[in-house]
Symmetry: C2
Subunit: 160 residues, 2 copies
């Protein structure tokens, strides 16, 4: 181990924030809801002092945050992680579920873009007094709106 070479010290909340990319308020929030373990305090100032071990778990949490994962899912992931390497398969599964969620989100946003495209075309047709296009674009918008509604309720179901 090169622990003897590496400096062993603890970190302020500001340093921890810079290293992890999580804001100080997020760090306090995650601790308050028990997503990360209680951080030891300086005896006199009562300021948080993050150990190297704390930093590891904060960084892991920041990773999950970066994937856009919900807090309940992050909790499950971190619990698995604490149980050791045996659950590496679980980690992968949770990550891939999150990936599917993101894929759904992309599809949904693409639908919204298509909807906007139709709306823009519609307004151009209105401007150009093109009654035929106006009619067909109105129908297209109607169909897309129905798709959007079902896509939204589908992603709601997924979240639940």
């Amino acid at each position: 181990m090169n622990r003897a070479v590496t400096e062993i010290r603890d970190y302020s909340i500001q340093e921890t924030s810079r290293i992890s990319g999580l804001s100080e308020s997020t760090l306090r929030y995650y601790e308050s809801i028990g997503l990360i373990d209680p951080i030891a305090r300086d005896t006199s100032s009562h300021h948080r002092r993050y150990s190297e071990r704390d930093l590891d778990s904060v960084i892991a949490t920041a990773c999950l945050n970066a994937t856009g994962m919900s807090i309940p899912d992050m909790r499950a992931y971190l619990r698995n992680r604490a149980e050791g390497a045996s659950s590496a398969a679980d980690q992968i599964e949770l990550l891939e579920r999150q990936r599917r969620r993101l894929a759904d989100e992309v599809v949904f946003v693409r639908l919204r873009q298509q909807y906007i495209d139709v709306k823009v075309a519609y307004w151009r047709a209105v401007r150009d007094d093109d009654a035929v296009s106006v009619r067909s674009l109105t129908a297209q918008a109607h169909d897309l709106a129905a798709l959007l509604r079902s896509a939204r309720s589908a992603s709601d179901k997924e979240a639940a």
Copy 2:
């Protein structure tokens, strides 16, 4: 005009919700914040009665809602709309701004997906005890995390 043929009547909040795709609670909410004009009430029951004109504006609002537009932007769009067809160019501009926002969102979600891909590959390498891959994937994850942070602050700036 075929107004003489079309049945002229008003609509309950339930009917308006079904037609527009907005929930009843959203309809009440939009009215309470002045996004849509105050709806006339039945004199005795005090229930909302949506006129055909109301329905037009509700449907227009539902369209914007379907694009994922923020309420302040919807407000601007609807104000323009009320000022007549002369501002069709403004409508198109607002819609295209929204489209760019959505494009940014897709980029952001794609980054998150990439990040997950790297994490999954990382866990597989850990499982397979592939130290070389672990090291290179750790570095990749680090770089992507930095990209994600800047992408997030960029989209924050955009929103402001």
